[in-house]
Amino acid sequence: MSARFSAYTTPCVVQKKEKGLIRVMVTNEKVLQAVCNAIESVNQLLPKEARLGKTVDTILMGDAGAVDSLKLVNLIVAIEQEIEQDFHVSINLADDESMSLTENPFATVGTLANYVSLLLERKSS
């Protein structure tokens, strides 16, 4: 496991080196699906050219990020709703912890799914 994701890497996440990039593999397909559904919901508000991708590599925040503050707020709430609907668990993606982590959980779709998985795991334990 790379220390890079140590703050919230869960057993359901595997990373491997591919073409020099760390690729995040979300094995918890159900969580990833919920995140993608949330992205789909947010995309309904957006013009075609501004729609968010739905692959684990899609960069959300950072220099090449596609998410402005409005999209981020919408995405967070949409994910929380999806998780509540699919897992019957209430999570908070916008609490102090998520904002203070050294590695941004909102960096990519994959890291976001990982973070959601971590919160779910905590809830279940």
């Binding site: 508000l45 013009p47 409005l70 707020v73 919408n74 967070i76 709430v77």
Partner: protein, 563 residues
């Protein structure tokens, strides 16, 4: 997308970025670009016409607010302070007057109703109590707002409660509110976008005018050619039969809003018409249909033929058929026609047609309510024409009367509708909202006449407009508009007769008109080229020396003030 981009302003006390984004991205309806007034600055934005958001001649405004932020007394009531309903309603009156004032800045103002979250149950059992309950007060506020705004032709109140109901449990989102000052979930903005775009389509004359229907398993259950009219599934105490009858009732209601119905069906015409005439549970009868093509030809070809015969454009047509194959065929061949996806389950037909957002005329006139009857009269006219030797002879038998009227309150709505909907016989295709048209026509150097046409088969209502602008000794015809329903019956010549006769009475020396071509108004150019006016092709200008009389057709009788 056929229409041009509509530019608007969103004024809101909450973060309405989602609405702006959705209006831009949603593909159905006209393209829309909006700017947002500064967030939370509703009152200053309404008061100050010089704010940057109003620059650039926006065409419409959406003013979407939360009641407690713009009606301060209602906010007090929410905090359990003693406030009378009368005071709250007086505040609503004052707020409405600000909305009315926007007519100087935009053509149309769209105002979603005020709503409160369903979980807001502070008043519990007393919530509907007059003078105390919040829901009771909010209902009164909305009705008062409607009362204030419905007198004005540029303001329309939109029912936002429906958006919330469609959005369901996530309609209100406390999370979005605390994180982004967005009170509603995404689905509310999506529903709002659909209604706003549909409203804009209607306001700019793009409302659908004709619904073409299949028969077997669409208007009734069963194949009439196989089972006979008396074995069709329709009406009675049967879920499917009731559903078909309800679907027909929904269609009948559309005809009262000025929408025409037609039939395009693969059947034997005599067999199908017998079913329509004889089946006791038929809600729609032959007289409810403006026309039909019932044969074994390709439906797309039949649609084209029928629409042409009704003098309509394909872009004003909706086609409803239970067969996905026929729907796909029409979509492919006639992309201008709206072909909605249709439910497999017949019990959902009535809901599907009522849910279509493409019928949004900004007003409903007497002419609209009797449109089907007018087309029926037209069929009778055409039948009578077949026996006549010449056109002039036929016109004489019709007993046509043309009444001229000056633009006024009684005919303004219909005149504005005609101006904004007519495409083919339209000299300049000028579009203008009611209030603006009225102001324009009131200038002392302008005249605008409406022409009401009737004959022995029926009253076609106001079907023509001619406006004249006088400068020095020249009269310029600005609008020359005639409904396609009466084209080719010498009404065109009668309208010019009126213009020239008036010009002579005013001592003018010439009357001119400039034709502005569009994709659809070639019939107008064709008329003007044979009108007798002198034509200058370099700038599409027509000219008449007022020394000369302009003859009126002998087949037309005149009514009203013809100078």
């Amino acid at each position: 997308m056929t229409s041009s981009t509509r530019h608007g302003v969103i004024v809101s006390d909450f973060n309405a970025s989602s609405l702006a984004s959705c209006l831009k991205s949603h593909e159905d309806g006209p393209a829309v670009e909006t700017v947002m007034a500064p967030f939370g600055q509703v009152m200053p934005a309404l008061l100050h016409a010089d704010w940057p958001c109003w620059h650039g001649n926006p065409e419409f405004a959406v003013v979407w607010t939360q009641p407690q932020s713009v009606i301060e007394s209602f906010g007090d009531a929410l905090r359990y302070q003693p406030v009378s309903v009368e005071r709250i309603l007086a505040d609503v009156d004052a707020y409405a007057s600000l909305l009315v004032g926007l007519r100087e800045r935009v053509n149309f103002v769209l105002v979603p109703t005020w709503v409160a979250p369903s979980f807001h149950r502070d008043f519990g059992l007393l919530d509907m109590k007059t003078g105390l309950g919040m829901t009771n007060t909010l209902m009164r506020m909305n009705l008062r707002l409607v009362d204030n705004l419905e007198k004005w032709s540029h303001t329309y109140v939109l029912d936002s409660q429906r958006w919330l109901e469609t959005a369901g449990v996530h309609a209100y989102s406390p999370k979005l509110w605390y994180m982004g000052k967005i009170p509603f979930g995404n689905d509310v903005f999506i529903e709002a976008t659909k209604d706003i775009k549909a409203a804009l389509s209607g306001l700019y004359g793009e409302s659908k005018k004709l619904v073409l229907l299949d028969l077997d398993d669409t208007l009734w259950g069963g194949i009439v050619g196989e089972v006979g009219w008396n074995r069709l599934t329709l009406g009675g105490h049967d879920p499917a039969g009731e559903a078909y009858a309800d679907f027909q009732r929904a269609l009948k209601a559309l005809t009262r809003r000025g929408v025409l119905l037609g039939i395009v069906s693969k059947n034997e015409e005599a067999v199908a018409l017998e079913a329509i005439r004889r089946h006791p549970e038929m809600v729609l009868r032959v007289e409810d249909f403006a026309g039909w093509r019932i044969n074994w030809q390709d439906k797309a070809a039949n649609i084209l033929d029928l629409v042409r015969s009704l003098n309509l454009g394909l872009q004003s047509v909706v086609f409803i058929d239970d067969s996905p194959v026929e729907r796909a065929r029409v979509r492919e061949v006639l992309p201008e026609v709206l072909v909605p996806e249709w439910p497999d389950d017949k019990r959902l037909y009535a809901r599907a047609v009522r849910g279509l957002r493409c019928f949004n005329p900004p007003s409903i006139t007497q002419e609209d309510m009797h449109r089907s009857r007018m087309y029926q009269s037209e069929r009778h006219r055409e039948e009578s024409k077949r026996d006549m030797v010449s056109m002039e002879e036929w016109l004489k038998t019709l007993g046509i009367t043309v009444k001229v009227e000056v633009l006024g309150e009684s005919n303004l709505q219909r005149v504005a509708q005609l101006l904004n909907k007519t495409n083919q016989m339209n000299l300049t295709t000028r579009r203008m909202p009611e209030a603006e048209l009225f102001r324009w026509a009131q200038a002392p150097h302008r005249r605008l006449w409406a022409f009401r046409v009737s004959d022995k088969f029926g009253d076609s209502g106001i079907t023509g407009i001619l406006s004249l602008e006088i400068q020095d000794l020249t009269g310029t015809i600005v609008d020359f508009v005639l409904s396609c329903r009466v084209m080719g019956r010498k009404i065109e010549e009668t309208m010019l007769y009126r213009a020239i006769r008036y010009a002579r009475s005013m001592g003018l020396t010439s009357v001119r008109a400039q034709f502005l071509p569009t994709e659809k108004n070639k019939p107008c150019l064709d008329f003007w080229l044979r009108s007798g006016f002198i034509y200058r092709a370099t700038d599409n200008e027509f000219w008449w020396d007022v020394k000369n009389h302009y003859p009126n057709s002998e087949s037309i009788m005149l009514d009203g003030d013809w100078v």
